[in-house]
């Protein structure tokens, strides 16, 4: 009986640990040497409008280079280019780039070394009057929509770059020249990483050296209605021959983003292949305060992916993609059905997306959890084994030594 029990518990624990260790798996040790430069090669008389910049982050690997270009001339765009050379460089033909953003005025040379390129463009902010309180723009009548804020018309300020040990952070804020933006701004913060890790601030997405993170927040904007909610429109631009889709992954692990059990991956993969080349990853959560606590989290949802026929009005994208690129768009909207809190209550919403190449990172259990589980299950198990041996020995001894008289 007790031996059966011991065996049973032992096998249960074995299975559990096996699963736990399986999740542990791949620690990402790969590092890149990241350097950031502002407006590479820009010389007078060429000059950019105030607040506008082209930031180039170069991540040098062992035998490849990953370029990130963030440019807010036109709609802000984050361009990712991967090359299989350690010598590749970003070249901008500035007059052509500034005036007409003519194709080819932004290139990564040598062009033959480029293996994959893709861009994420942030095109519009939608505002709608959520009269039915569904927080779903798909379900909202078109008449409830206000005219969108076009990011290509924004006036930008405050570009600032900071760097610490392993991350390089670039922040830029912009606003439209309207009443609504009198005290408000839209900010983008790009973080480029040398190695794997995660931000301390929620949603604490896991990143690696093959990805960069864009944190978007909309602060102090005067909503045009009391029931206003917002949605962000994104477009992804990629080489033809790639298809895109949004995958949902369920994760049991919400340790880093409390109460969020899903991860969305907007992946891009070659038409006849199933291997993922690039991704944009986010968790379905936005935060209503600059320094959020648990209650400030609000769910967010995305619209279905739609093909877009026009290339977005972004200088970097128009200048880089020379051959008919593929453009797809989707909206990210904030709030949940019957959500009593609207934008006007906190006047802040923030959302984070990770963009990178290769497979999207997947969360694994933290060491703390594994230690707790190991100690928690291991101690009783050890005592069961030791105690089981003790009981067995003692039983055998009593059986062997005592031929007691029958009374």
């Amino acid at each position: 009986m007790s031996r059966f029990k011991v065996n049973f518990i032992f096998s249960v624990l074995f299975v559990v640990f096996g699963v736990a260790l399986g999740f542990l798996g791949n620690g990402d040790k790969f590092r890149r040497k990241v350097t950031v430069e502002l407006n590479p090669g820009l010389k007078p008389p060429s000059s950019l409008p105030p607040g506008v910049a082209l930031v180039h982050a170069r991540g040098l690997g062992l035998n490849d280079t990953l370029h990130f270009v963030l440019c807010n001339l036109g709609a802000p765009a984050l361009l990712l280019v991967h090359t299989n050379s350690t010598e590749s460089a970003v070249q901008v033909t500035w007059p052509a780039f500034i005036n007409r953003s003519s194709p080819g005025s932004l290139r990564v040379a040598p062009e033959s070394s480029v293996t994959y390129s893709s861009a994420l463009v942030f095109t519009r902010i939608w505002e709608y009057d959520d009269v039915n309180n569904t927080a779903d723009p798909q379900e909202t009548a078109e008449s409830s929509f206000y005219s969108p804020y076009e990011l290509q018309n924004f006036i930008w300020s405050d570009l600032n770059t900071t760097a610490n040990q392993s991350d390089h952070v670039i922040t830029l804020c912009g606003r439209e020249n309207t009443e609504s933006f009198a005290n408000g701004s839209l900010c983008l913060r790009l973080s480029v990483f040398e190695s794997a890790g995660r931000d301390r601030a929620w949603p604490s997405l896991l990143h690696n050296s093959n990805s960069s993170q864009l944190h978007v927040w909309l602060d102090g904007l005067t909503p045009r209605g009391n029931l206003s909610r917002f949605a962000l429109e994104f477009q992804s631009v990629g080489d033809s021959g790639f298809q895109g889709r949004v995958d949902v992954r369920s994760s049991i692990d919400d340790e880093y983003t409390p109460s969020i059990f899903k991860v969305f991956d907007w992946v891009s993969l070659p038409l006849n292949s199933s291997s993922v080349w690039g991704f944009s990853q986010w968790k379905p959560v936005a935060y209503r305060k600059p320094e959020p606590v648990f209650e400030d989290a609000t769910p967010c949802r995305h619209s279905p992916l739609v093909p877009v026929s026009r290339i977005p009005q972004s200088a970097a994208v128009r200048a880089y993609f020379t051959h008919e690129p593929q453009v797809r768009g989707l909206n990210i909207s904030f709030g949940v059905d019957k959500d009593p809190v609207h934008y006007s209550d906190t006047r802040h919403i923030s959302w984070t997306v990770l963009m990178g190449m290769g497979d999207p990172p997947a969360d694994s259990f933290s060491t703390l959890i594994i230690i707790i589980m190991a100690v928690g299950l291991g101690t009783p198990l050890a005592i069961i084994i030791v105690g089981g041996v003790f009981v067995c020995v003692r039983k055998r001894m009593t059986r062997a030594s005592v031929y007691e008289p029958i009374n």
Binding site: I252, D254, P258, S259, F261, F294, P340, T379, P380, V391
Partner: protein
């Protein structure tokens, strides 16, 4: 409103009351000697606790609404449970004393029912006035009444049914308690919805009105207490019997004589129950967030533990009584609870499986654990031992409720579940040690029922 009720069921039905055959002619329904009259009394007895059970889990059933309407975080939400537990750390010792020496059972019952009612009204008023501290005060007052009311309920049961249908009555009262919790879990959210559509908006006043309506169940229970008091006095006059007593004698100096195995039982009790009740308190949103349940489904699954426990408790109690081997049963209960928490934490399997398992193991533990106390302490220390057990259980629940709330706020559900699993591992460790200790000292905790009976005969 944890588990205070289970242990009463081991009270022996020893003395047969010699009935006084004084014959006055009363109809069976009005004759205190008649079964029909006792059934009538039983009905009031069962509904005596209904209000407090119904209202105890109001916060769990309205978790999202309370958090939203009062703009709380989870940690402060869980304070509602902690404030309920604080007074009961002391009242476990005092309740019996107050009933026996100060108020008497009848007045005592009415007073405790009043506390429950007033507590719930303060709780609701706190919501109406949008003062969270007032809600906490309400829960505190409610707690003063709630646990002691259960003691009173049991005393009544012993007084009326001793030597007759006592175990059945205890079983029925327990099922009634579970029924109260279940009805609350499934109904109060609907009530809130109705009021919301009547008033046109959700907010703290909607919450307040809902809680006021819930208070009507406490008013109902108070009425039962009054009627019961009347019937009891009438019976006393007719039968010339004494007022019922809890018979609990608490001597805190006994604590130093408690055997090692009793301390292990205390550890199991605290470590096990903190993995159950705070979880149910936080469960609703967990099922919504992790398993994409609708609110109605989440309430239903959150109440399944109570629903299962209502019929399972008497059945499993019977099983444990017949087989003995309490330690193994407790071990089984802890291990299955551990498994079900692991399922909830590490898988997306249908949570109904895990929750049903949890309901069964919870009932099994209650049946097997509480009676063990009687095997390890002499009878005159039983009152102290049970009082102490409930007291530290309440301490554990109060502290762990708040810990669980802030853990969830900062670390999420997986970590919370791992925390509960760690608590259960602690319980598991204590059970294993208890088994070994009992084996080593040749105690009778893990004997089969037949061996126990033989030992008893030999003495």
């Amino acid at each position: 409103m944890a588990v205070r009720e289970e242990h009463r069921s081991i009270l022996d039905e020893d003395e047969e009351e010699d009935e006084d055959e004084g014959s006055r002619h009363l109809s069976p329904l009005c004759d205190p000697r008649h079964l029909l009259h006792r059934i009538l009394v039983l009905v009031f007895m069962c509904f005596l606790g209904f209000g407090s059970y119904f209202c105890y889990d109001n916060p769990a059933a309205l978790q999202t609404q309370v958090i939203q309407d009062m703009s709380l975080n989870t940690a402060s939400f869980m304070q509602l449970y902690a404030w309920y537990s604080w007074p009961n750390m002391f009242l476990c010792f005092l309740g019996g004393f107050l009933l026996d020496r100060v108020f008497g059972i009848r007045l005592g019952t009415v007073i405790f029912s009043l506390f429950v009612l007033i507590g719930q009204i303060i709780f609701a008023a706190g919501a109406l006035a949008n003062h969270f501290w007032l809600m906490n005060v309400g829960r505190f007052v409610f707690g003063i009444g709630g646990e002691s009311l259960a003691v009173a309920q049991n005393t009544y049961a012993v007084n009326w049914f001793k030597g007759k249908e006592l175990n059945l009555v205890f079983g029925l009262q327990l099922s009634m308690a579970r029924l109260g919790s279940t009805v609350n879990m499934n109904v109060i959210g609907w009530v809130y919805g109705r009021i919301q559509s009547l008033t046109g908006s959700a907010g703290h006043s909607t919450l307040g009105i809902t809680l006021m309506i819930a208070a009507s169940t406490c008013l109902f229970s108070l009425t039962c207490a009054l009627i019961l008091g009347f019937l009891d006095r009438r019976a006393e006059k007719i039968l010339k019997k004494e007022q019922g007593r809890t018979g609990e004698v608490i001597k805190l100096t006994d604590v130093k004589d408690f055997p090692f195995s009793l301390w292990l039982i205390f550890i199991i009790c605290v470590a096990y129950y903190v993995a159950i009740f705070p979880f149910i308190g936080l469960g609703q949103v967990f099922f919504i967030e992790k398993f994409s349940f609708t609110t109605v489904q989440a309430r239903a699954i959150n109440s399944i533990v109570y629903i299962i426990s209502a019929p399972a408790s008497p059945l499993l109690g019977f099983l444990v009584d017949r087989t003995g081997r309490n330690v193994l049963w407790v071990l089984l209960a802890v291990v299955t609870t551990l498994l079900s928490h692991m399922m909830l934490a590490f898988t997306f399997w249908n949570p109904w499986i895990a929750m049903c398992l949890l309901g069964l193991s919870y009932s099994l533990l209650a049946c097997a654990l509480w009676p063990m106390v009687a095997f390890v302490v002499p009878e005159h220390q039983l009152g102290t031992a049970y009082g102490f057990m409930q007291s530290i259980q309440n301490l554990g629940l109060a502290v762990m409720s708040m810990a669980a709330g802030s853990l969830l706020d900062n670390k999420g559900y997986l970590f919370l579940e791992v925390f509960f699993i760690a608590c259960l591992c602690m319980a598991l460790l204590a059970v294993v040690l208890l088994y070994l200790y009992d084996y080593h000292t040749e105690g009778e905790l893990n004997l089969s029922a037949s061996t126990r009976a033989e030992r008893l005969k030999a003495e």
